[in-house]
């Protein structure tokens, strides 16, 4: 019941209105690093900016972008999705197999399937209260195997209807491929969802303090299932783009190696392993950075084999720099 207040209303003078906190330097880091990277490459390869290098980079990093966003959403709740690349590859194989016979139904169905299998991982983890690490590790094995079986361990070629998904790369708006706009839409959508909807509040609460969230009536099962569903869906988008890019799909092809880069991109984008952080824009920058590093290294003339070492160092340093050291939470 709402009662009439007996405490007098505070005079206007006592009200404090603060401006929103100034964006801190660490929030801008990914963008800064990206700019530096692009600048460094341009110095060595002046063609880079002028000759459409940026555009190519954006298209290249699309699959990773989607995977990284999915990973970010799972990490928002403090979990991890080890199966996202596997789901992406499965999606690639599925759509490649179905485009011929099913036409436009193929991508739709594919997305539904991966969203469903993603939800399954999330639900299992949430319902049985088992670590997402373990569940998605198992899921990774299962969906990898599924992709191999469905593709009969060969390359699935597409003989017709490629344009149904190919348009993301062929059609251009304002000079950029439709796929890039799709990526931007996804990033904007995620931002909107986490910041402007009740679901976003629920996710943040569960990520920051799950017990309080549960005691406030928020369903941790529902939120966990949803983020893994989103991870699956986004992995599906990644798979579609991969197939569109290659025109074919292999269970062992490109995409399999995108798991670790997706985690790296999310971390560089500022996500905390413990949860509670959602930075879709920075994660997008992170994906660009991760895609650019090998290109940049090659342009500067660094041995591409050093790539791995650089990746590793970047991951470790990025997290070391941004980790909350208050040691209130135990270290795992």
């Amino acid at each position: 019941m709402v009662q009439t207040p007996t405490i007098a209303r505070t005079p206007q003078a006592l009200r404090i209105r603060t401006k929103p906190a100034a964006i801190s330097l660490s929030r801008l880091m990914p963008a800064i690093v990206l700019v530096i990277l692009v600048a460094a490459i341009t110095v060595v390869e002046p063609q880079f900016i002028g000759g459409g290098g940026i555009r190519i980079m954006l298209v290249q990093c699309l699959p990773l972008l989607f995977l990284a966003c999915g990973q970010m959403l799972v990490m928002l709740l403090g979990g991890i999705d080890l199966s996202n690349a596997a789901m992406g590859v499965l999606a690639a194989v599925l759509v490649a197999s179905w485009l011929g016979p099913l036409g436009w139904l193929a991508p739709v169905l594919t997305l539904l399937v991966v969203a469903a299998i993603g939800s399954l991982s999330g639900w299992l983890s949430g319902y049985f209260q088992v670590p997402t690490f373990a569940v998605t590790l198992g899921a990774m094995g299962v969906w990898q195997a599924a992709a191999l079986l469905i593709s009969d361990q060969t390359t699935v070629s597409i003989n017709q209807n490629l344009e149904i998904i190919g348009w993301v790369l062929d059609v251009r708006f304002l000079g950029l491929e439709a796929g890039v706009w799709l990526g931007a839409l996804v990033v904007a959508g995620i931002w909107f969802m986490t910041n402007r909807t009740s679901l976003g509040q629920e996710l943040k609460a569960v990520g920051l303090n799950e017990r309080t969230a549960i005691l406030s009536g928020i369903s941790n099962l529902k939120t966990r299932t949803l983020v893994h569903c989103a991870s699956g869906f986004l992995a599906g988008l990644a798979g579609l783009i991969l197939t569109a890019q290659q025109g074919t799909a292999t269970a062992t092809g490109a995409g399999v190696g995108l798991l670790l880069p997706s985690i790296a991109a999310a971390i560089i984008g500022g996500c905390a392993v413990a949860g509670g952080i959602s930075r879709p824009v920075n994660v997008a920058f992170g994906a660009c950075i991760v895609t650019l590093v090998p290109i940049g290294a090659a342009a500067i003339g660094i041995d591409p084999r050093i790539q791995y070492v650089v990746f590793g160092l970047i991951i470790v340093l990025a997290v070391a720099a941004s980790i909350d050291r208050s040691s209130r939470t135990p270290l795992y």
């Binding site: 019941m1 007996t6 629920e202 609460a205 406030s216 009536g217």
Partner: protein, 508 residues
């Protein structure tokens, strides 16, 4: 018997920021003496014990151990000097054995490699040493047993042995501090503990901290009473009784009962709990709340008060019994569904269960009823602002900044935000409060009390767990006393006008 006291505190002062927690505390613990330490929550007992354990350092004042001035640098240092603490919560490593835990207890002081060399553990030596320690306090337990397999009482024995081991190697008589040791024990086990304490007295000194006045009277030689951070009394145990102790503890001769009590017979029933039992140990709890009534649960630690409240809210599993809100059974509903039905719960652990640090004040307030501030799933900033302004005013939350990170507010203000989260529901029927005034300054306590009273005036039924009997008598229409998971008394304050001692008797 030597005259030098085992432990001497002179003029200890300790403040945290602007809050003085200990003021000019002086105490003397003699050799082979059992000294009791009592005081209400917030009196400073906890801080004093932490100080003695080396976890805090005093701002000023002296500490003498066995006649030598000491400055305790840290926990290891305290252990080196012979101070062993048996905590309220378990500090044993459950997947190690009894012997290992005891071995670790004395680790600091032992000659480097007795029991281990080059990292290898000599089980024979370790087990033998542990058996010796256990025998000293009269225990005959297999040192190889895993802590995980022991009962609470047994674990406590091990903790005591560990604490004594600490003193052993200090080559001085051990000073053992027992913090609320009986709260989880059965009567027969308490007798056992009494025996332990006698043995401890023979080999050293004991500081016995407890809420259970009757036990303090039984086990100790002398008693110190703390109130508001000061030692307000020191008594020989044989010259004092429970009522006097209570009066010294609270500073009141008797507790004033409410003047404005009313009869709720005609009011609607909001909460009906019948024969509620849980796996955790609740036994056939029955109670009823009417709209506008404030019902207080009282009981010692681990008496089950918290379980009752959590079971009603849906967080503890019920094995039998029923819970009804306004006539509707809710025992099968999820937490979310119960909230929809008008239930609310303010836990005692604010930081881990009451608020979400990392979110703003407004976001915390809106959290339990997100649809009130969202239209069709979309955040409505104007609704949020309205909500937070209203409640920041009503509860006098400072600073008046809805965007402030809740982590930056004081404990009292955080509690008000957590309360606002529930009070803002127009459909609120039942408010469950677990020690809501814990850790709050007097001003905040008044605000919260006022808010709760108003909720009652508005027809909300309130079930609260009281920190102190005083609090219960001040606020409640009904009091239910719990002991060891069962109801020992149901008191209607209007009809029975109970005194503190009446209630105390049912608690212990």
């Amino acid at each position: 018997m030597s005259v030098t006291p085992a432990l001497e505190l002179s003029g200890i002062n300790k403040s945290f920021g602007s809050k003085t927690v200990l003021k000019d505390v002086s105490m003397r613990i003699g050799q082979n003496e059992v000294v009791g330490l009592i005081g209400e929550n917030g009196a400073g007992k906890s801080t004093l014990l932490k100080l003695l354990a080396g976890l805090h350092q005093q701002d000023s004042g002296g500490l003498r151990i066995h006649g030598i001035d000491r400055q305790l640098r840290n926990a290891s240092h305290a252990a080196e000097l012979g101070i062993g603490v048996v905590h309220q919560e378990q500090s044993l490593l459950t997947n190690l054995s009894v012997a290992e835990n005891i071995h670790l207890g004395g680790a600091k002081n032992r000659n480097k490699d007795a029991g281990s060399s080059l990292g290898f553990l000599n089980w024979k030596t370790i087990n033998a040493q542990a058996t010796k320690s256990l025998r000293r306090i009269g225990l005959d337990m297999d040192p190889r047993a895993m802590i995980a397999d022991l009962t609470f009482a047994q674990r406590q024995m091990v903790e005591i042995a560990k604490a004594v081991e600490v003193g052993e190697h200090a080559h001085a008589l051990p000073i053992v501090i027992l913090d609320e040791p009986t709260s989880v024990l059965e009567p027969s086990e308490i007798k056992r503990l009494a025996g332990e304490i006698q043995r401890l007295r023979e080999i050293g000194s004991v500081i016995f901290v407890s809420h259970r006045l009757e036990e303090v009277l039984e086990f100790t030689d002398r008693i110190y009473v703390l109130r508001h951070g000061k030692v307000v009394a020191e008594r020989e145990t044989k010259s004092v009784n429970e009522e006097e102790l209570f009066a010294l503890m609270t500073g009141r001769q008797s507790v004033r009962v409410r003047e404005d009590l009313q009869d709720f017979a005609e009011a609607d029933t909001v909460l009906e709990v019948k024969n509620l039992s849980t796996a955790g140990g609740l036994d056939e709890i029955t109670l009823t709340l009417k709209a506008g009534q404030l019902h207080s649960l009282v009981g010692a630690t681990s008496s089950g008060c918290e379980e009752v409240v959590r079971a009603i809210f849906g967080v503890e599993r019920i094995t039998s019994g029923s819970i009804k809100i306004a006539g509707h059974p809710v025992d099968k509903l999820t937490v979310r569904e119960r909230i929809r039905r008008g239930m609310a719960y303010l836990p005692s652990e604010r930081k881990s269960e009451g608020i979400v640090s990392g979110m703003s004040v407004t976001e915390n307030m809106a959290l339990a009823h997100l649809d009130a501030t969202h239209g069709r799933g979309l955040r409505r900033r104007n609704l949020e602002v309205q909500l937070s302004n209203m409640w920041m005013d009503r509860l006098d939350i400072r600073p008046r900044d809805g965007q402030a990170a809740i982590a930056e507010l004081s404990g009292g203000n955080q509690q008000k935000v957590a309360l606002a989260k529930w009070l803002c529901d127009p459909n609120l029927k039942l408010l469950l409060l677990d020690r809501p005034f814990r850790g709050l300054d007097p001003g905040a306590i008044e605000s919260v009390k006022e808010a709760v009273r108003q909720a009652c005036h508005g027809g909300v039924a309130v079930l609260t767990i009281a920190d102190t009997l005083e609090e219960a008598l001040e606020l409640a229409d009904d009091i239910t006393v719990l002991k060891d998971g069962a109801v020992t008394a149901s008191i209607n304050v209007l009809a029975e006008r109970p005194s503190v001692v009446d209630i105390l008797g049912k608690m212990v």
